[in-house]
Amino acid sequence: MGIPVSYYLVLSAIMFVIGILGVLLRRNALVTFMSLEMMFNAANLIFVTFAAYYRVLTGQIFVFFVMTVAAAEVAVGLALMVAIFRTKHSIDLDQMSSLKG
């Protein structure tokens, strides 16, 4: 393997941090979802890296499941966003304040 494992881990850590900052700081629901995807993919990258490193397949199989689950989550999220958009004409998370918190 030409590239050392640590490079992948650092890249994944950077992706994860960008993702988490995006979720916490951006107020547009669509951007938040994209940031969530970034966090999931950071995890996927580590799985694939270690699957190659240990030469076992479980990590790669895990990635398939994670991708499926992330897609399901986004599908539900988009449906809920459409429902909100119908009444509010906005998907800004700061405007979702009919509940107090």
């Binding site: 988490i20 995890a43 270690f50 479980t58 989550e73 809920l80 107090k100």
Partner: protein, 485 residues
Amino acid sequence: MMIDVGRMMLEILPEIGLLILIGVVLVLDLFWRKSRKKLGWVSFAGLLLIFVLTLVFVQPARLPQLTWGGMISLDMTGYIFRMIFIAGAALTVLYAIANDSLAGRGEFYLLLLTSTLGMCFMASAADLIMLFLAIETTTVPLFVLAGFLTRDQKSVESGIKYLLFAAMTSAVMLYGFTWLYGFSGTTQLYQIAERLKYGFVPQAAVVAAMMLVLVGFGFKISAVPFHFWAPDVYDGAPYPVAGFLSTASKAAGFAVLARALFVIFPLQTETWTLIVALLSTASMFVGNLLALAQKNIKRLLAYSSIAQAGYILIGVAADSPLGTSGVIYYLSAYLLTNLAAFGIVALVGRAVGSDEISAYAGLSRRSPALALAMLVVMLSLGGIPPFAGFIGKLLVFAAAIERGLIWLAILGVINTIVALFYYLTVLKVIYLYRSEEEDKPLAVSSAAGTALVICIVGIIALGVVIAPLYGWSTDAAATLLFLPR
């Protein structure tokens, strides 16, 4: 090696039963266009049947075993938690039948059953892949259930808030899983533990992975500081869903929390007992102090459920058989109590049209039976004998003292006293305040009535007849600490 398919099927009988029930509900939903309300009764009957079949046929051996290629651990813990989830789902179905905006919707039962299926797998998962899939199978239907009333803006908002918190915490948890996989090269929980024991992984890295994983579990049990979603989601979600979220979903979180901590991190016990004790203290104080200020009963119950998670965490922090059996006992008692609470809140909320605590004035005259039920529920939540909540608190506090965590037990007792104040305030409004509408009786439908009677009888039974459930939970606690063959 011969694989005995029949035996393997029997081992996951409750899950297979739930899957068949899901299929039946889905198909009947297509054909019973005019009488979908019956679907609720079909789901209830199916869950009851699965409960009985599980009780009789799936009793595990005394020593835990791995099955399905190491994906599932067959032990008392999985057994007892499955029963808790199925019972919770059955009661929730009854409340949904009593709710006009949910009863005629086949997909509601479908999603509820799917979520229950995920919980059953959560309780017995012994592999990171299985664990992740089970957690997501539980959570994704719950997003839809929380946002189920699409015309109600509060409901949709609570759905999307729940989704954002859940997705973020589960991404963090997944990142923790990748570290564990990286340390050990396997996803099987027991093998990870083996390899962490003999590997050369720095302690600090293992503890960091544990913290990441704890974020995901902390969210599920709504412990402080991962509790922000709870009040909003309980407030906006339909009543039966709020009840289900606060009980069965929380119990599932505790099942995986206990298994992960005991199985993967036995060497880091000192660190995680401290972390769990701190989470517990924070949950108790934040939950109880914020509950004191609430005027809305659903938000009061939400903060109360955060505080209850704090008490249950005392049992986990004790890291002993007594503590774990206390956790299981507490969760069973709490399931019945909080489902009854949300059932009563739903009935009153529909009749009065408000969830404010002040709307409960004169309830003792409008419906003495409901007021009495609320009395039992609030006293059980407050931990007053002879109700189930008392035994749960007694066990977790005793476990803390047994393990020398006396400061934690004392903080728990102080919080119990603080909590009694707001529970009794609700009772004061019900019994002592008068309202102008108190001559109008309050209708209780047969489904909601049945569920309430089951809950109340259960609360009193668990508070008086301790031995059977205590015996079971002691067995479960013992198996959780053994390595399966």
